[in-house]
């Protein structure tokens, strides 16, 4: 009962401390979401508390995710002129990104010794959870593994994405946003929106385009790759 009531204050409090830590030492590994998740996971593992109760207690927070994704439309609308101007470049980059993600996700899992069921579960991880899970199910993967890899892909992008892209010389705001949305879905986009509105808008755009492309392409591409092995 206590946990049920404390779940949200515990989350927000930890997040706040993590935010201060990140403000003091702005390192990618100190990404506030990453630190908060790891701290809470460590807490539940150490104490043996039931994290299901925590998850029930944080339902209102999780429930806000849907309206938050809807709200991204505002960023997109504010960038409408820029989106129209570079639509071809956006479409080409997202198409290549989805192709890379599906092929590497499948092939690397198989090369590292995973079964084809595992490879199919990991293929669609770059897109938002509901799309990724239903795609995984359609191509013979295990949706639970997909859900886990979607979170890991999101965390990786949100924490290390902008530093990684900067090192590669990708600093154009539209390019960074698009790259983060394409590889780390809503989590990468949320991080982009914190950085600036252009990144947030292009992240949202990639989120939408890549979700559509992945659900169309994966049912053909992944079985083809697995069949060829």
């Amino acid at each position: 009962m206590t946990m049920l009531l404390l779940a949200i204050p515990l989350t927000l409090g930890t997040y706040r401390v993590a935010g201060r830590l990140h403000a003091r030492w702005p390192l990618p590994v100190l990404n506030p979401v990453l630190v908060t998740m790891l701290a809470l996971i460590a807490l539940f593992l150490a104490t043996g508390w039931d994290y299901h109760v925590y998850q029930r207690g944080t339902m209102p927070l999780t429930w806000l995710l849907e309206p938050a994704v809807v709200a991204l439309a505002v960023l997109l609308y504010l960038q409408l002129a820029n989106v129209k101007r570079s639509f071809m470049a956006i479409a080409v980059s997202c198409l290549l990104g989805v192709g890379t993600s599906l092929i590497l996700g499948t092939e690397l899992a198989a090369l590292a010794g995973g079964s084809s069921q595992l490879a199919a579960s990991l293929a669609p991880k770059a897109v938002t959870t509901p799309v990724a899970m239903s795609v995984a199910e359609a191509i013979g993967g295990i949706p639970a593994i997909t859900a886990a890899s979607v979170i890991v892909a999101g965390i990786l992008g949100a924490s290390f994405g902008s530093a990684f892209l900067r090192r590669l010389g990708v600093t154009h705001d539209e390019a960074v946003g698009l790259a983060m949305g394409a590889s780390s879905h809503a989590l990468g986009t949320a991080r982009c929106a914190e950085e600036n509105a252009t990144r947030g808008a292009f992240g949202s755009l990639a989120l939408v385009i890549c979700a559509v492309l992945t659900s169309c392409a994966a049912p053909f591409v992944v079985p083809l790759l697995l069949g060829a092995r």
Binding site: P32, A68, L168
Partner: protein, 113 residues
């Protein structure tokens, strides 16, 4: 404050309608993305004014990152499953995330310059 509440209500209507529409689709697709597209179309077509969603959208987007924490904590439930497949899981997830990120960012930046 009242303005934010009104904005949130408008956004939630879009989220709910989006969710309702998913049940009519022959394939599964997130209601939130349909809601986002509908709100985008409504704004672009001038059916609703930016000012009736802007402040609320700002608040939601500002706090969006923390909403992922409970989902991430849910990884605890997958520990057993992941232990058996750790190598394939990690290699596939790490490499394909960063490579596809580099491809999208690099290609777009080159096409635009």
């Amino acid at each position: 404050m009242l303005r934010i509440v009104r904005d949130l209500l408008v956004i939630m209507v879009f989220a709910e309608v989006g969710r309702g529409l998913t049940s009519l689709l022959p394939f599964s697709f997130p209601g939130s993305i349909i809601g986002m597209l509908m709100l985008f179309v409504a704004l672009s077509a001038g059916w609703i004014k930016l000012s009736i969603v802007e402040a609320g959208a700002g608040v939601l987007i500002k706090y969006m990152a923390v909403m992922f924490v409970p989902i991430g904590v849910g990884l605890i439930g997958y520990i057993g499953l992941l232990e058996h497949n750790a190598a394939a899981f990690l290699v596939s997830t790490f490499v394909s995330t960063f490579v596809s990120m580099a491809v999208v960012g690099g290609v777009y930046q080159r096409l635009r310059s």
